[in-house]
Symmetry: C2
Subunit: 406 residues, 2 copies
């Protein structure tokens, strides 16, 4: 524990050897704000704002011609190619399109005919949308639906169905062992659709090496793509050609401007494109992804783990209940603490300039985005938390006026 950066000097020393420290200046963050909610909505990278301004200017100047002149027509593919190295897959295996909800539906419906059995599996503590989509998709297609006990996904793969599974649990940050899951799925003819929403941009996901074949993920969390930025789909090359999108919009057509009545899907993951993508949001995302150029997923994960270790060691010293795995290799990019007075504590933190989030009934989550947070930032946030808890000041309205994180 001696090496943990409990002191300000120790944190600063870690920042000095942090290979990602230089990335902070690529973001636009309010003065004095320690932002620990990057797992919910990432802040704007400067390059995101720049690309948005360009897209606006293109719309104004070149109007409909911008589909070609500004490259809007293949922007979804280019953004997919920017994401690919962060999840360990090839560029043509990723497309940016629609929302995570819609993409999970597309992948599960496309996978169903290839699974050993027509059954949709989802765990009961899975992110709620994933459960809603899974259950309704089963109803629509006449497949069987099974809601499993928390943690029951692995064991249920022997049923040979389609499992929708988060790589990182949104609440606890627990990480699934993708390679073990995929090996088990392969044994039984099951297919897994991974939800990478809390993994991409913060975890060293190596999908191809782990045998993962299908995944969807969010781009407005750790990828900082902007509020509601379109999501992505990964479909492994060897599987993609056998998949039919249940939402075959014209942007997924091999010849979208031929206007033929019959559908001919594009090659690779691009077949999962559907309607016209929201270009202003998509251009912003593509700009945000420039921030990740030449950054390895491994470097992101290493730093996020170090920041998470810092949170946990301080939580331990405060005697708090840590809900997230202590083994950093089993933990995603956030750390969740169980704090009975969580809601007012998060408000008190905000009054100190520290933004964290609260999930009822008692979960406080600290998102540890590795590109823009320093060890000193996180140490300061924990100082503020300790001060609030020791002083009981979360229930003192006057605290909110004077508190400021140091």
């Amino acid at each position: 524990m001696a090496s943990l950066p409990h002191s300000r000097d120790a944190a600063l020393a870690l920042d000095q050897i942090d290979p990602l420290a230089g990335k902070r200046r690529l973001f636009c963050l309010p003065e004095g704000c320690c932002y620990l909610v990057g797992h919910s909505l990432g802040p704007p990278p400067l390059s995101a704002s720049e690309r948005l301004r360009e897209a606006q200017a293109d719309w104004q100047r070149d109007l409909v011609r911008s589909w070609n002149s500004a490259g809007w027509i293949d922007l979804a593919e280019r953004a997919g190619a920017q994401i690919a190295p962060l999840i360990g897959v090839d560029t043509e295996e990723v497309i940016v399109t629609d929302s995570v909800s819609v993409n999970l539906f597309k992948l599960a419906a496309a996978a169903l005919p290839l699974a050993a059995r027509r059954v949709i599996l989802v765990e009961e503590d899975e992110f709620p949308t994933d459960q809603y989509i899974a259950e309704e998709m089963a109803r629509q297609t006449g497949a069987e639906f099974q809601r499993l006990a928390a943690g029951g996904g692995f064991g249920a793969l022997s049923r040979g169905g389609v499992l929708i599974r988060s790589a990182v649990n949104y609440r606890s940050a627990e990480v699934a062992r993708i390679d073990d899951f995929e090996a088990e799925a392969a044994r039984h003819g099951a297919i897994i659709v991974w939800d990478l929403s809390h993994a991409t941009g913060v975890l060293d996901v190596e999908l191809k090496a782990s045998g993962a074949r299908l995944a969807a993920g969010c781009t407005y969390k750790y990828l900082n793509g902007g509020p509601g930025a379109p999501a992505f789909i990964y479909a492994a090359r060897e599987l993609a050609g056998r998949l039919a999108s249940p939402l075959p919009g014209w942007m997924g057509h091999a010849a979208p401007f031929a206007f033929t009545p019959d559908y001919a899907p594009r090659a690779g993951a691009a077949r999962f494109a559907s309607g016209t993508p929201p270009i202003l949001s998509l251009a912003t995302l593509s700009g945000a992804l420039e921030t990740f150029a030449n950054v390895s997923a491994s470097a992101l994960a290493t730093k996020a783990r170090a920041l998470g270790n810092l949170v946990i060691s301080r939580a331990d010293s405060m005697g708090l209940d840590v809900m997230s795995p202590r083994d950093p290799s089993r933990r995603g990019g956030h750390v969740s603490l169980r704090i009975k007075e969580g809601y007012p504590v998060v408000q008190a933190l905000a009054a100190c300039g520290v933004m964290a989030d609260f999930r009822a009934p008692d979960t406080v989550r600290f998102g540890l985005s590795p590109l823009f947070l320093s060890h000193a930032d996180v140490r300061g946030a924990m100082d503020a938390l300790e001060h609030i808890l020791q002083s009981g000041s979360w229930d003192k309205p006057e605290f909110h006026a004077r508190a400021k994180v140091t």
Copy 2:
């Protein structure tokens, strides 16, 4: 024909009594550009750019708090409420969400259990995406699929299925008689999902008065919401409560932040919201819709028809083949001409500052957006077309250098 504005003076006189003439200054259009492609991608209204700048600033300043502080959480509903009066329905009957493709799927799948027969109907000259979506939806759900002859939709309603039908044909601009269709559908227990993509913002669609119950539509054409701006869904109040979205994402949940495993849909059309909407694109759209405040659909249609009449009368005088209905009450917001050398002619028009579009093999479309086009604009475009055709200059490269519309 004497009253048609063939002359510059006559066109200017019409502009002087045009009640929408003042709207032109609310748009940002390049100098010297006569933009007749608003049926494909509308130009940016100033208010759209303004709202986009604000959303960007909100993201930067308030970060995740903007979901509440900037009202992002109900922006999709507010944008829906802005669209509602343009299609003659109530505010809670419209929600902005996803793309037209995805929305047609949602509505057709939701309507299927309520139709007299499990059959999906679509005409063979329907916009191709609508055909792709219809066919695949039938395959997914095990419903029967019937591709009808062009114009066969009305007659097929007696089969009691779900018909996906454009209110305005994307190629010819022919308008469907919505009230006749709905009366026939009611007689046979059929349900119609209207595609309003080429109707909204340019036609006096009165959905409620016409008995229409379900519709989806595009917002980046005549509504000028920006490239790929999210689409909308209309579901009539009396039907909405009986419909289950096949894509029940968390934004369509009655309590999205309760994170319950079971789905409880929101009231009204809002149940068709799905994943997190692309806020930057959505804010831009909402800004664009401000341009339509206090503009009646009837005023839009009246002017678009006058502009269309002008195009047709000039086309007649040039001996061109008019593909669109001559009866303005049967015609949408664009006029299509069949011109054998259409592609180079459109290029030659562009060299004169007149933007029109071309659809293979021989269709030239002139979009007559009533908010930013004047009669003089359209007259000038027709002058340019006449000059190009008379001189045969579309095949003379040197023309492109010297031509400028007057």
